[in-house]
């Protein structure tokens, strides 16, 4: 369906835009010595005719989209189409003129209107100009529609990406971790019943806070750390003395907002690919601090995780993907303001992320 005919408002605007056309045309007739009544009586219906006829240029605009590298061929197309349509319209106006004359709707005044060859040629020229203007209008319409479509598509895409991200995050919860935790509970039920209950509660805490965090777009660091504490407490029950955790967290960082479930995968990596690969285990260090932003007025949050690793172990397959995901999410939220580095430093693997502080208001 033609976009102008699709909406009443747009049709009204389109027809209104033809009023100057009517004036121009009537002016031409007046200049030819016509009476004002006759000039308006022909100019009005003629322009209405043109407005309907020239809607066809929409198809022309769709077939010949604007392209800078094809300017010449486009100009040719427009000129030919406008000449044809202008002539066609001039012919139609002449027929209309004869019809109105026969019906006695023209020529009641003192001067009898004449529409001969020179006037008709001029009419064809005016028609061509009208047509060119309509073509330009249609290109504008198409461009506007494209923009709107792109905006809708972009919004849909972003929505989709966010959904996919959350799905991925939920799937990211390592089944190996869950089943091993259940196995630990199974062992604790006879060895240490209160310990079994504690572990059940920790597991529930962990699952609950990861579900809650997964529903948010941004969450305060305090919530993320709460999740991390439950997660690491469970892992410490599993790994016993092989896993030690050092916390070095500035309490003022608790309100800083960040994309949720960003740190848990990093801690999981540190254990799975680092500490769990070492028979003697090791210490996971976690830091969070606020520092003055050297390039701006605000402050930046700095989070660091590092863990010992086996320098001879082959690079694990899943590690790169998890780190890249964290980097992408950080970039997605904070743009070029986000900093992310990850890699071995001596015999430890270190991940460092920084981004500007933004608080709950």
């Amino acid at each position: 369906m033609h976009p102008v005919l699709g909406s009443r408002a747009r049709l009204g605007t389109y027809l209104l835009a033809w009023v100057p056309g009517v004036c121009l045309l009537a002016g031409q007739f007046l200049a030819g010595g016509w009476a004002l009544r006759d000039a308006l009586a022909l100019a009005g219906p003629s322009c209405l005719l043109a407005s309907a006829l020239f809607l066809s240029s929409w198809h022309l605009c769709r077939v010949a989209p604007l392209r800078p590298d094809r300017t010449l061929s486009l100009l040719g197309t427009w000129a030919a189409a406008s000449a044809c349509m202008g002539t066609l319209w001039a012919g139609a106006v002449w027929l209309l003129f004869r019809l109105l004359l026969d019906l006695g709707l023209l020529g009641g005044a003192l001067v009898v209107p004449v529409l001969a060859v020179p006037e008709l040629l001029r009419l064809a020229g005016i028609g061509a100009v009208f047509h060119i203007v309509t073509v330009a209008f249609h290109y504008l319409l198409i461009a506007q529609e494209r923009t709107r479509e792109a905006e809708t598509a972009g919004r849909d895409l972003r929505e989709l990406a966010r959904e996919a991200e959350l799905k991925a995050l939920r799937a990211q919860l390592d089944p190996h971790f869950l089943f091993n935790s259940l196995n630990s509970i199974s062992a604790l039920t006879t060895l240490d019943p209160p310990g079994a209950r504690r572990m059940c509660v920790l597991l529930a805490d962990f699952l609950r806070s990861s579900l809650r965090l997964g529903e948010q777009q941004l969450a305060p660091l305090a919530q993320e750390l709460e999740l991390l504490r439950a997660y690491l407490a469970i892992e410490q029950i599993r790994f016993g003395s092989r896993l030690q955790v050092d916390w070095d967290v500035d309490p003022r960082t608790g309100t800083v907002l960040l994309p949720p479930l960003l740190l848990q995968p990093l801690a999981e990596n540190a254990i799975k690919h680092g500490i769990a690969q070492l028979p003697q285990g090791g210490r996971l260090r976690l830091r969070a601090h606020l520092v003055e932003d050297p390039g701006g007025p605000g402050r930046r949050l700095q989070i660091g995780l590092d863990n010992p690793m086996d320098p001879d172990a082959p690079a694990p397959a899943g590690l790169g993907l998890g780190l890249r995901q964290v980097r992408l999410r950080l970039r997605g939220w904070f743009g070029p303001e986000a900093g992310f580095t990850a890699g071995p430093v001596g015999d430890r693997f270190q991940v460092l992320l920084t981004f500007p502080e933004s608080d709950h208001d």
Partner: protein, 258 residues
Amino acid sequence: MTEPTPTAAPGRRFTALLADDEDLARALLLEHLAGHPEVQVLASCRDGFEAIRAAAEQAPDLLFLDIQMPGLDGFEVLELLDPGPAVVFVTAHDRHALRAFQVHAADYLLKPFSAERFEAALAQAKLRCGGPSAWPDPAALAATAREGRLQERLLIKDGARVTVVPLARIDYIQAQDDYVLLKAGAREHLKEQTLSSLEPRLDPRQFLRIHRSYILRLDRLAQLEKTATDSWVAVLTDGTRLPVSRSGYARLARTLEY
């Protein structure tokens, strides 16, 4: 009363070895085994290396083997062990490993497991013990479990000692009868394996068979020289010269695109 399941000869005693890196997981296995006085637990190992050492020294009848362990994983342990114990795999969640157990009819326990499931696996392992089906084919199991994934390191066992050689350190591999000689800088390792069985498990972008007896790590190649007898010699970055066969030359030319 249901049909009695076949059981091992009454009065027979068994020795067993456990390998799991989690204390609680080992404790749970010990608890289940405590109800079986006929099974004597020789050792409870915390990683693959310990398991290899204990198995080599004590030759158990039964081996309860976790898959994910530091150092060596369960499949690597299996590859390095001398045939003998009836193996029961214990794992939490590993699709590839599960498929391997099912395809090759190995006994396994999925964590967490019920007492009934444990009893069934133990009875099955006792039956297999000493029989021809006690020992799952380590290479076939590992191949199924690692489906599509290429080797990243080679393991060499000498008695109870295990050496891990990362593939990134290897310059070339030479066939020597039933062994392969791994040349890694100034060090050499002998591994009991044929060159042909090793070749498909190496990354073809990094390793190339240039001769019946040689596989070369491509980034160690410095130049190719033509000899007087119209054959080719590969000169490595450290100056080592290796013969290149006619088909080896064709493969090299194809891979290096010249």
